[in-house]
């Protein structure tokens, strides 16, 4: 009798959580994924220690591989909450990456090398230049969307085409290399593990969480996304908020570009970052952010990104062919939105 009561209460709790907490179902889904993934990894190890090491290493791989897109997804959260969308992230990353590469190239064609700047100062200047280019590209998109009153989908579709195409043409002759020192940005081992990209992702997530909840800008992004008219009539500079959202997005893309260059030691201008926009949007949507703006959270996006990442890992462990994995992504996005719809109706 007592146990059945307890059981009922527990289910009641689950049911209430389902109905009330927006991230409850997302968290549950992630938990289920993690359990499945752990089972798929198996327990066929000589000792618990060996199993734990394998399990941990698997996790570090998952997180490190997704840190770059994860950071883009954080920016995408702000863009989508503000009522917009950014399709250009993959292409702007290539443009920013090309600028950084040409700056830090230790070969004869490296810009900084040519004026005698090498080593750490060159890296700092190179990264700064990348961020500046990112901010400028973000300003362009922001101006088109705010002052130009252009639908974000169109404005960023245009930016996407322009950035990658121009970058490819401009870099047709050059073949820059990345200096060894630059690889240390992500390649330095902390506690014997390659976890720096994960730390960058985490730190940025925490900062952006605070920005979204505890700064005027963060709250204004929600306000503008939910009701632009009321926001303007309350003295919010709607155009400025929109512009800043795209600037933030592009600055984060610049950070991702640095991480990618440092990890891979090169950048393939034709293919790098393609599909980032869709993966980032998928993570944001799975994390419960509304496509129509005004609702969403940074924490949700991190959970959404993890769900995608863990699922990918799970499919890998199960030996699902790579071509088929994208289909699972599609299914999970559709399922997530269907669940959210149900929650909103309650």
């Amino acid at each position: 009798m007592v146990t059945s009561m307890k059981k009922k209460n527990f289910f009641q709790y689950l049911l209430d959580g389902w109905k009330n907490k927006p991230l409850f179902s997302t968290g549950c889904a992630l938990l289920v994924m993690i359990v499945l993934q752990t089972l798929a990894l198996g327990f066929d190890y000589p000792s618990f220690g060996a199993w734990f090491t394998a399990w941990g290493r698997n996790w570090i791989n998952i997180l490190r591989n997704n840190a770059g897109v994860g950071i883009v997804a954080l920016g995408m959260t702000f863009v989508i909450i503000s009522g917009g969308i950014d399709l250009a992230v993959g292409s702007t990353m290539v443009t920013i990456g090309a600028v950084i590469m040409v700056m830090i190239d230790p070969g004869a064609h490296g810009w900084l090398q040519a004026i005698g700047i090498t080593g750490v100062p060159a890296y700092v200047i190179g990264i700064a230049a990348g961020v500046v280019v990112g901010v400028l590209l973000g300003e362009c998109t922001g101006l088109l969307v705010s002052k130009g009153k252009m639908p974000p989908f169109i404005a960023t579709l245009g930016m996407m085409k322009i950035c990658r195409s121009v970058t490819q043409q401009m870099t047709i002759q050059s073949n820059p290399t990345v200096p060894k020192g630059f690889l240390a940005i992500t390649g330095t081992r902390i506690g014997g593990e390659l976890i720096l990209p994960i730390i960058y992702w985490l730190v940025i997530a925490v900062i952006l969480y605070v920005v979204s909840k505890h700064t005027a800008f963060g709250r204004q992004v929600f306000a503008v996304g939910s009701n632009e008219r009321t926001s303007r009539l309350s003295g919010v500079n709607v155009n400025k908020v929109k512009r800043r959202v795209y600037v933030l997005m592009s600055a984060l893309v610049a950070i991702t570009a640095v991480i990618q260059i440092s990890r891979i030691g090169s950048m393939d201008y034709a293919n790098a970052g393609s599909g980032y926009e869709m993966d980032a949007i998928a993570a944001v949507i799975i994390g419960g952010t509304s496509m129509s703006g005004g609702k969403g959270s940074v924490v949700g996006t991190v959970l959404g990104m993890l769900i995608l990442a863990v699922m990918n890992n799970l499919l890998n462990l199960l030996g699902v062919p790579p071509f088929l994995r994208e289909a699972f992504k599609g299914v999970i996005v559709i399922a997530a939105v269907m669940l959210q719809k149900k929650e909103n109706n309650n």
């Binding site: 505890h214 700064t215 709250r219 929600f222 939910s226 309350s234 003295g235 919010v236």
Partner: protein, 492 residues
């Protein structure tokens, strides 16, 4: 053929909207249907148009009893209802709109465009209107759109046409064009019901009038026997509420002065001034331009000419943010669209205008945010459980108080309130009036925009009446009564 409605009664729940109203219309006659908002005009016409059904009473067409349960039945009996919001699709051509839902088809199933254009042209010829059937509706001005809609009714053999405030959104030349068409229809023995608040137009175009007040038919007769003042008196009734307040005598310095403000097509050459501690009312009919005038003052409507002086200094307000920083508060009309942010909680809604001042090393000071709001919550007696609940969990009156609270946290010196009691129940209405009067005592300059004469009389020291974008007169003291305001607002 004669249209008669006899002893029509209708109640919504406990609320009797029509009490045994009789109404008749002859062919080839234009009859004005007059009354204040809520007098029962729309209900009566909705019954005739088949939108709703009467509880009691008969509708007779040429002596034959009819009962309409749908607009389609009413239409097939020859009665067309042209609503204020026109029922046309902007992105289709005129002839496609004329035949929407009843398209003419050829034997092979494709549309017979030629036949539709021919039929449309026939109707336009009949009423002497020069409209190209192939034009896009979007490109027509408002009067021609109305004419297209009336033509559609004629094409469906309508013998009686109900027009609900057809001239509200039209300019003077457009109104003349519609009137010309009405005269043509009249000559062709069509009967027309003309619902309007504009008494001058009623005098010009109508043959007879019927006045409803509180669901009762209070007067009818020939228009040539009455003046606009008579009609206004019938609409308001005899017992006038004269509960206007003691006019405050300790007014401060002038806070706002407008000189010759114009912005076509909304308002034209408006000048006014408000002092600290004063409540200035601006009233008139829908579309008189008062909302647009103060949207321009607040920096949310571009393109106005004229000068704005704040505390005696000339200012050019280009953005709402600038207006806020200058100490202007603005409670817009249509709370749902313009006043609240539905996805945010009560506290965020009640503090959005002070976010830029709540900084503490870039972070919002949530303690101060909460404290500021709590203070206003007490002062305005907002009823709520938790400030972190969604704004939509509150009643309309409490939502409106939250909108007020957000401005009061910034201590504005000038507060503009547009329809402040829209969608608010009677009790909360009275509370909002008290808040307005308290703010005036505390030295805030207030501008109340309202189409309800009683509201203006209740809270304002004096009021300007607008008509077609111009201030026609100022009323204060004894002259600030419903008769006078109604007369001025209707252009009489």
């Amino acid at each position: 053929m004669k249209l008669e409605m006899n002893g029509i009664s209708k109640a919504f729940g406990q609320n009797a909207v029509l009490k045994s109203v009789s109404f008749h219309l002859n062919e080839g006659e234009i009859c004005a249907l007059l009354g204040e908002n809520g007098a029962g005009k729309s209900t009566l016409m909705n019954i005739l148009g088949g939108v709703i059904q009467a509880d009691r009473g008969d509708i007779l067409l040429g002596g034959v009893k009819h009962a309409f349960t749908t607009p389609a039945q009413s239409l097939s009996a020859g009665i067309a209802f042209i609503h204020q919001e026109l029922n046309l699709i902007n992105d289709l051509t005129v002839y496609e709109n004329m035949f929407i839902g009843r398209e003419l088809k050829k034997k092979n199933g494709f549309l017979d465009h030629k036949a539709m254009i021919r039929e449309t042209q026939k109707v336009f010829d009949q009423i002497g209107m020069d409209i190209d059937p192939r034009a896009m509706v979007r490109e027509l001005d408002a009067s021609f759109k109305q004419i297209v809609e009336i033509s559609r009714a004629l094409m469906m053999k309508a013998r009686f046409i109900i027009m609900d405030e057809p001239t509200t959104s039209l300019t003077d030349p457009e109104i003349q064009r519609v009137f010309e068409m009405l005269r043509t229809l009249k000559a062709q023995k069509v009967g027309i019901v003309f619902i309007s608040h504009k008494l001058r137009e009623v005098m010009e175009i109508c043959d007879r009038y019927t006045v409803l007040r509180d669901g009762v038919m209070v007067a009818q007769g020939a228009v040539q026997d009455v003046t606009t003042a008579d009609l206004a008196r019938h609409m308001v009734g005899h017992e006038v509420v004269s509960g206007h307040r003691e006019v405050s005598d300790n007014l401060g310095q002038e806070v706002l002065r407008l000189k010759n403000m114009s912005c076509a097509p909304y308002f034209d050459g408006v000048s006014l001034s408000v002092k600290a501690g004063e409540v200035l009312g601006i009233t008139g009919l829908l579309g008189d331009g008062r909302s647009e005038l103060f949207a321009a003052v607040f920096g949310s409507l571009e393109g106005a000419s004229g000068s704005v002086y704040l505390d005696g200094k000339a200012v050019k307000i280009r953005s709402t943010l600038q207006a806020v920083k200058l100490g202007i508060g603005y409670v817009p009309r249509n709370r749902k669209e313009n006043g609240i942010i539905k996805d945010m909680d009560i506290l965020d809604n009640g503090s959005i205008v002070t976010w830029d001042m709540l900084g503490r090393k870039g972070l919002l000071n949530h303690k101060k945010q909460r404290a500021d709001f709590e203070k206003q919550k007490q002062a305005l007696r907002i009823k709520l459980d938790d400030v972190r609940n969604g704004i939509t969990s509150l009643s309309g009156g409490n939502q409106q108080k939250v909108v007020l609270a957000k401005w009061l946290t910034r201590n504005p010196k000038l507060l503009i309130l547009d329809n402040p009691t829209q969608g608010v129940d009677v009790g909360a209405k009275e509370e909002i009036y008290e808040i307005i009067l308290r703010l005036a005592r505390e030295g805030v300059a207030l501008v109340v925009l309202s189409s309800e004469a009683q509201e203006v009389i209740r809270v304002c020291d004096r009021a300007l009446v607008m008509y077609h974008g111009k201030v026609v007169d100022e009323v204060r003291g004894e002259r600030m009564n419903e008769h006078e305001i109604m007369r001025l607002a209707t252009g009489g």
